[in-house]
């Protein structure tokens, strides 16, 4: 119990927001893409990823490698192949729909219109077959037909079954509030106990009803009767009200709340819970799994330095940070994500002591600072000034025994140096880098030499050159 409390107390409000936000994003993906091929492929990819993780955990090297390759390529393929579906989801819907709107998957057919149309067709002695699918898939049982995809209206149904219409002999397939197909051919019932006066239309209605959980409305052309085929039952319907009740029963519409709506609500709630559980598990596997210690050597960044001052010397240039976090987080942490910043706005000329605290250190979320070394640094600041100094050649090595280096002139003979006032006050000469004497030949020569400016905090002022030309004269010894 104590461990659980300790564990819960370690969760920050940012973690709760993190889990909540990502759960919602996953849930919204489900809401936006459910029913599409994209969603099915995404589920497939997720399963492949789990398979890869399992293979990796079990040490199946080649399997893990192959699945990883498939997942990597599949992620690319899904974007290319399903770009139209993704675009239609993101473009066709408004911002509100994408963020929090719900589009009902189940749409209820307008029962009253269908019931009235059936009796109007019967009155006109126009034969009709109207299929109301249930939960079972009927695609393998029906044949032919043409895609219609029109909103249900009285005029549309009457026109489909108008005798001169080419599709009037087939059945109309109702999906939700739309006529999905017309002129559909249904399988015929093979029952032998049916009355002889029932024609092909009634046998077709019973053929589909027997094989599936669909309800089929049949309008008899000869007798002007409306019947309903459901299961093995063929029932003659006396009034639009009775037909409407049959349809309501078929669609499971209760007094106030429909079953499909309930089913959808359960489905959405389940999806939300699965999203939450999935992200929570994923979050814990990343942020709490396998505590790992790591050490970073981080260079110190100085901020808010007075532009008139410069750092002459710092006791250290980098600090060593001991960090802990989950192995996944530690592995994915880049060195540029860990920073140590020192605010020099309060610093004065001379030596300044600064303590390195957590407020100076920025870490990626999930990593915890365990130790800092050193815990304080000394920064020596000075006012920046310029000073004109003579240049002297720093000869080194050994000249040939019979030669003497008689003269040398430096061009330019003086350079302007910028740097800390206290350093420049004690500096009288700028030396060149060491110039080896054994390179000199007898007579006059010119060599180009780099200045050796020490300490490193000093710089050649703008306008001065960091190289000088040395013209020398050697002569034979007396």
């Amino acid at each position: 119990m104590e461990k659980v409390l300790q564990f819960l107390s370690g969760i920050r409000w940012q973690d709760v927001v993190d889990i909540g936000l990502n759960s919602y994003i996953l849930f919204r993906f489900y809401v936006l893409f459910r029913g599409t091929y994209v969603f099915r492929v995404l589920i497939g990819l997720t399963m492949l990823w789990f398979f890869q993780q399992m293979a990796s955990y079990m040490g199946l090297i080649v399997t893990s490698w192959v699945v990883q390759g498939i997942v990597a390529v599949a992620a690319l393929i899904i974007v290319v192949v399903f770009r139209n579906e993704i675009r239609s989801v993101l473009q066709a819907r408004n911002f509100r729909t994408i963020l929090w709107g719900f589009t009902s998957k189940t749409r209820i057919a307008p029962i009253d219109i269908i019931a009235e149309c059936a009796f109007e067709l019967a009155r006109r002695r126009h034969g009709a077959l109207i299929v109301m699918p249930g939960d079972e898939d009927i695609q393998e049982l029906i044949q032919s037909g043409i895609a219609w995809n029109g909103d249900i209206s009285r005029e549309m149904i009457l026109s489909i079954f108008y005798p001169d219409n080419p599709v009037h002999d087939g059945a109309a397939l109702i999906e939700g509030d739309r006529v999905a197909r017309a002129g559909v051919i249904l399988p015929l019932s093979r029952r032998e106990d049916l009355p002889s006066y029932l024609g092909t239309r009634h046998r077709a209605a019973l053929g589909l009803a027997e094989a599936t959980d669909s309800l089929v409305i049949v309008v008899s052309e000869q007798r002007g009767e409306v019947s309903v085929a459901k299961g093995v039952r063929l029932q003659t319907i006396g009034s639009p009200r009775q037909l409407a009740e049959e349809l309501e029963e078929h669609f499971g519409i209760a007094d106030e709340q429909s079953l499909p709506a309930k089913k959808e609500r359960v489905e959405v709630t389940t999806a939300a819970l699965v999203s939450l559980l999935f992200i929570t598990g994923f979050w814990f596997s990343i942020s709490r799994g396998l505590e790992t210690l790591v050490t970073f050597d981080v260079p110190i960044e100085y901020q808010n330095r007075n532009p008139n001052m410069e750092i002459v010397h710092a006791s250290v240039n980098a600090v060593r940070l001991n960090l802990s976090g989950s192995g996944t987080l530690v592995k994915s942490t880049r060195s540029d994500q860990v920073r140590v910043r020192l605010d020099l706005s309060t610093a004065a000329v001379g030596q300044n002591d600064f303590a390195i605290t957590a407020s100076n250190i920025s870490l990626p979320p999930g990593l915890v600072l365990k130790n800092v070394n050193p815990q304080s640094i000394v920064v020596d600041l000075d006012v920046t000034v310029r000073k004109d100094l003579p240049v002297q050649v720093d000869w080194a090595g050994r000249l040939s025994e019979n030669l003497i280096l008689a003269e040398a002139t430096v061009d330019p003979s003086r350079v302007e140096i910028a740097g800390g006032k206290r350093i420049l006050e004690n500096l009288q000469t700028i030396y060149t880098e060491k110039v080896p004497l054994d390179r000199l030949r007898e007579g006059v020569g010119v060599i180009e030499v780099q200045l050796a400016i020490q300490p490193a905090s000093l710089k050649v002022a703008s306008g001065s050159n960091e190289k000088v030309a040395v013209k020398y004269l050697t002569r034979r010894r007396d």
């Binding site: 003579p390 002297q392 050649v393 720093d394 000869w395 080194a396 090595g397 050994r398 000249l399 003497i404 280096l405 008689a406 003269e407 040398a408 004690n426 500096l427 009288q428 000469t429 030396y431 004497l437 010894r477 007396d478």
Partner: protein, 145 residues
Amino acid sequence: MVRKCCLVLGVWWLLSFSGAWTAQAQAPPRGGANSGASKLALVQALVCEDVKEGIPSNPAIAFSISAGKIYCYTLFDQITEDTVVYHHWFFRDKPSARIRLSVKHPRWSTFSSIQLREADKGPWRVEIIDAGGRLLKNLRFSVTD
């Protein structure tokens, strides 16, 4: 008397061995009248390997440590009255020796020297300064292998 002589010789040897200075003055090449004003003109200033009989030999700007000793030679003219000059030796801009030398009316040459040690390799300079502290010349040279 012998003890005094030994003491003087000992001090001289110590100063010479530790890289301290020696200073010598000698009679000017030519005589002249004393004008009574404390002025002088630096005619020649150089660093050389040796000074023999008042004449500098092998003046240069780079000297091997094997030379053992180097000299700063200065020649003054138009000296209005007896005065002093200073040879201020610097190694890497840090004072190494400050030698006070007498100069006499009307023309005078004088020199100072340092004993070289292994640690003396590097850039040197000698400031020639008159009695009033005026910088007359800055000689730059190096001690090398």
